[in-house]
Amino acid sequence: MKIVILGFGAVGQGVARVISMKKDYLRSKYGLKPQIVAVCDHSGAAIKEEGLDEKLLLETKTEKGKISLYPSYGAPGVDSLQVLEDVEYDCLVEVTPTDIDDGEPARSHILKAMEDGKDVVTSNKGPLALSFQELGDCAGKNGVELKFEACVGGAMPIINFAHETLAGCNIESIYGILNGTTNYILSRMANEGSSYEQTLQEAQEMGIAETNPYQDVEGIDAACKIVIMANSILNLPVTLKDVDVEGISRITSESIALAKKEGMLIKLIGEASPDALEVSPRLVRQGSPFAVEGTLNVATLKTDLADDVTVVGKGAGSVETASAILSDIVSIWKIRK
């Protein structure tokens, strides 16, 4: 399987790493031989039809910062859409940064690949949160797969879990903690009694919160995931603007202390149900499935046959997120081989 990776940051590099780590396993277990034929970042591309060397890709990016400096096969300044036009491949792995205004550049990448008849795997929430139905229709029209397990909850299995493992169940609603950064901040505030501002700053120093934490702390990131699950799992044709969003920046240590007296914690909860599409701070019982700490994510699916089913997992991380991308690649391979 010939793969193009667009974006070579934490997740893109994770993908190269897991492909390199799992080569023998993928071949013996599934007969799958993934070949990375092109990789793009801001600097341009590295392109080699017989497959680039994963270790050399990682080394080049870490040491030189630019993928276009890949020995002999670097292509400085070549733009990603050009790569999709010129290179022969089967599957696009779209892992450029999430944009929630127009979904670009990922939206154009994904549409171009699908219109060219290629399968797509992505961790990029932007295009899906803004125009899920359009992308789904495009995939259907062109007879290609569009897979996005990594978009929701990183390594925590949820999309494919709902569709495959819970096949036959009607899923009525979904509740979850879908953002690791905010869960870390709220857990720390509950354990240390510290203020929001101080805890956010600590999280930034530890690299858990970004320098610009807006999308995480104001609930936008979680809202994107709620939209993706509402569309994919509940068949609700909604977009980001349909979600009521309230983040955690108004949570105080006083409010957490009051909740604790009642045996409760405050968590940022996303809800997709026939009653509501919202992200907001909510009270959860200590000891309940939602009382997870640190950067963990959790989601509960309310089903008709299986009652409540809850999954917990790592919502972010390079190799962790790449594991979800790899599982999507394997399921595409099973369809295509």
Partner: protein, 162 residues
């Protein structure tokens, strides 16, 4: 032993049969069913009075079965069933806001504010209050919605239960 239950049923065909099914299945004797479709609650549901005969254990099993079907039991032997609802409000809350909020919540039918806690902060906008309410069974969703509206009107952050 005889027990009187009042169930809160949606006025759609089949609902009464659905409610009676676990009673027969679990071995409770159905003595009487009073189903007056012309008396409706504010929510458009119909209260149905059912008298069953059996031991206490059978009653408990019947109640579990009804609840797992999302059928609300409003009354058991003339006693209204209650559930607890907790909420936390954050913002520049002063005594007067609390009194006002409590008064408005107490006005809602079937709701009573049972406990109240206020935590003031040096920064006024960081203050918080916690309210624990007791409400008739089945009102939870409606009450949470009301609290959200009340709080937003006053510019408070409302933190409701999941």
């Amino acid at each position: 032993m005889r027990f009187n239950l009042v169930l809160d049923l949606q006025d759609v065909p089949g609902k009464l049969m659905e409610a009676l099914e676990p009673m027969g299945r679990l071995g409770a004797n159905i003595v009487a069913v009073i189903h007056q479709r012309d008396i409706k609650t504010e929510r458009g549901t119909v209260p149905v009075q059912i008298t069953i005969e059996g031991d206490k254990e059978t009653l408990d099993r019947v109640m579990d079965a009804l609840e797992s079907k999302d059928i609300q039991i409003m009354e058991v032997d003339g006693v209204l069933r209650k559930e607890q609802i907790t909420t936390v409000l954050v913002g520049d809350i002063v005594e007067k806001d609390v009194q006002d909020t409590v008064a408005r919540l107490n006005q809602l039918e079937g709701v009573r504010v049972a406990d109240l806690d206020l935590k003031m902060s040096d920064k006024p906008e960081n203050s918080a209050t916690k309210m624990v309410m007791e409400a008739d069974f089945g009102l939870k969703k409606q009450i949470l919605k009301n609290i959200k509206k009340l709080g937003s009107e006053k510019g408070f952050l409302v933190i409701n239960e999941v």
